[in-house]
Symmetry: C2
Subunit: 402 residues, 2 copies
Amino acid sequence: MTAPPHEARPTGPGRALPDTQQGMRRRNLARVMHAVHADGPLSRAGIASRIGLTRAAVSTLVDELIRTGLLEELGPERPGRVGRPGSALAVSGRGPVGIGAEVGVDHLAVCAVDLRGDVRARAERHVANRGRSPGPVVEELTGLVRQVVAEAEGEGLWPAGLAVAVPGLVARDARTVVRAPNLGWQDVDLGALLPGEFPLTVDNEANFGGLAELWLGADTPANFLHVSAEIGIGAALVVDGSLLRGTRGFAGELGHVPVHPDGPECGCGGRGCLEQYAGEEAVLRSAGLEPGEDRVGLLAGRAADGDPEVRRALREAGTALGIALTGALNLLDPQSVVLGGALAGLAPWLLPSLEAELSRRTAGPACPVSVSRLGPEGPLLGAAHSVVRAVLDDPAAVAERA
Amino acid sequence: MTAPPHEARPTGPGRALPDTQQGMRRRNLARVMHAVHADGPLSRAGIASRIGLTRAAVSTLVDELIRTGLLEELGPERPGRVGRPGSALAVSGRGPVGIGAEVGVDHLAVCAVDLRGDVRARAERHVANRGRSPGPVVEELTGLVRQVVAEAEGEGLWPAGLAVAVPGLVARDARTVVRAPNLGWQDVDLGALLPGEFPLTVDNEANFGGLAELWLGADTPANFLHVSAEIGIGAALVVDGSLLRGTRGFAGELGHVPVHPDGPECGCGGRGCLEQYAGEEAVLRSAGLEPGEDRVGLLAGRAADGDPEVRRALREAGTALGIALTGALNLLDPQSVVLGGALAGLAPWLLPSLEAELSRRTAGPACPVSVSRLGPEGPLLGAAHSVVRAVLDDPAAVAERA
C-alpha cells in the first residue's frame, strides 16, 4: 500500500521541531527499547541489525539504558563460540512499573505492570460508586494505589506513572472528567484529587480497552473499532495504531449514534440512540429484569439457561448494534470490529443477529467481528500498559525522572 | 492540549527508519520550503529564525532549492542597511506545477497550479460520462491534460505530477477505481490508462474536496468533516490535518449511513441509507422532477423561485443529513462540518432543517456547520494542490526527478 504523495509530510510529536542530534539520540534510545521489548533477549549485534544502526552506536545506547535500569544484561551468550561473546540483553524486570487504575460503576481496581508486561501487584474493591461524590471515591482509589505501589517497591520496582480509566468523557488535558453520567460526575479535575507524585493520565475506559486490545490482543490489526459496554456503550477508534480522540477528546460515542431516529428519548438529548437498545440497562428492561449490581452476569446466566425473554432482548440488542456499526463501518472502513468489556461476556447471544445485520446491509464481504479475550480486564490493563508504552517510547524522559 | 504519554511515539512516514543525516537534510529542505510558502518572501535569516536552524545551515539548503528551481531570489532586500544585504526568497513561479484532473458524471476538467497556488492553465469539457467505458473517457481526459501541460510549459513551468479526482471508491494503491456506480465503473486501473510520464495519484472526489478545504478554505480547523455530493454523498474525514482513509481507502461513505433502518432499498445492499433521502436524484424524485443534466442548478433555481415541493424535498434532505451527521459527530468529534460540492449551492434550503436536527439531537452546543466557498471547484483544486503539497513536503524527491 503506497500512501499518496500529499500525505508524505512528516507528522507526529516532535516533527515540527528541527532535527537535532539530541532528538536523534532520544528516538534511537526508543528504537533500542522497542526492539528488545518486541524480540528480546537480544545481543547488541542483534539489536543493531534490527534497527539499522552500527554496533558501536547501539553499544553506547545500550550502556545508557542499562545505567538507568531499563535494560538488564543476562550474561554471556553462547560462550562456546569463537571471539568475544555477546551478552544477551532483556527489558528489566526490576525497573519502572506502570500503575493502572479503574473507577467503575461497581468497583475500583489498581494494578502494577512491569516493562515485560507482567502484572506484579493488584488490588480491587467492590463498591457502589454511582452517585458518590468524587472526593471519597478518589480517596479510596488512592488507598489502593498506595497499597499496589508499596507492594511493587518491595520487589525493587518504582512507579513511572499512573493512568486512570473512567466510565465517561475525558478532556484532551487527560485529567478532567467532563461527564460521567453513570457516576453522576461532571467537570471533575482528577489531577487535583489524585496524589501528585507520579505523571498522571486519565482516559475513557473504552479508549484504554481499545489500546489494551491493540497492544495485548491476538493479531489485532492497526485499524479497528473496539466496542465496549458497561452501562453506556463506547467505542475506541484505532487508526494506524493510534487512538482517534476527536477535537474535545469525545470521539467514539457509538452509544449515541441514532438507530431509530424516532425512537425513545435518550439522556444525551437525542432519540433512538444505540444505548436505548443495547445498553446493559436497556437490555435488562427489555427482558423484564431489574437492573442490579452484576448486570452482565445476570444476563449471561439467564441467556445460558435458555430464558427466551433474555435471549430475545439480546438478539434485538445485536440487531441495533449491527445498524449503528453499519454507519461506523461506512464512515471509518476499519479492518475489524472487536467486542470488549461487558459485551465480550454476552457475545454468544449478540453476535448472530449483529453479524446478520452487518452482512444484510453491506455489499461484499462484511467486516469481521471478533470477541476480546481481555473482556472486562481491558481498561485496567490498557491503563497500566499505557504507562509502560510511554517508557518504551521515550526512555530518556524516564531516566531524567528516575 | 497535552497528548497523553501513550501517544508520544513518533509516527508517520519515515519514522520507522533510523534517523540519518540524509533524512535530516530532506526534512530540513521541506521545512525551508514550507516556511517560504507560508510566510515568504523571506530572507535567509528570516527562514532561520522561523525553523530554528542556523543561518549557515539555511544558506546551504536555500542554495540547493534555488539550483533545483523551487525557490527564487527576488534581489537585495533593504539595500540602505548597514552590512551585507539579505536577499528575499520566494517560492518559484516558474518551477513545477501540479496537474489536477477531474472525471465527473457530466464533465471533465484539468488545471495546472504552481507552487504559489495560482492556477496557470485550465481546460474543461461538458460530456455525459455515465455508462461510458473508461478507455474513451480517459483518452479524452488525457487530451485535456496534454493541452494544459503544453500551455504550462509555454510559460516555463514543468509538471511535477498528475492527480485525478473520481466519483467513486479508490483503492489504497491510489490508482485503482474499485467502484464508481454513477459512472458504471468497477475495478478500473487508471494507472494503466493514463500517460505514464508523471507521478500519478487517483483519489475520491470527496477526499480531494476535503483537502482543498483544508489547504485553501478560510480558517478551516485541523479536524473537520467535509460533506459533498454529486449523485452520491461522500465525506472526507480530516483528522489532525490528514485524511482518514480507512483500511481499503473506503472511509467517508456517509451516504450509506442508515438513517431510517427500515427505509427504501439502496444500491449498496442496505436500506434507508442517507443517499436515499439526500442524494441529488432522491431529492429530485421526492420533488417530482426528472433527473436531467444540471441537477443542482434545477433544484437551486426552483427553490429560489419558491417552489414548495422542491423546498419541502430539500428540507427533508436536510433533516436526513442531520440524522446521519449526528452519528458521525458522536463517533468523530470534529471541530466543524463543511458542506461542499453540490451541497454548497443548495445550502440555503438544507441548512435550517439540518442544523435544527443537530441541535435537537445533541446536548450542549451543536457542532458548527459552514458552507465551502470552493463549492464544485474543490475536488479539481484539491487534486492539483495535492501535487504542489507533495513538492513542498519533499523537495529533494522532486529535484531528483527534475
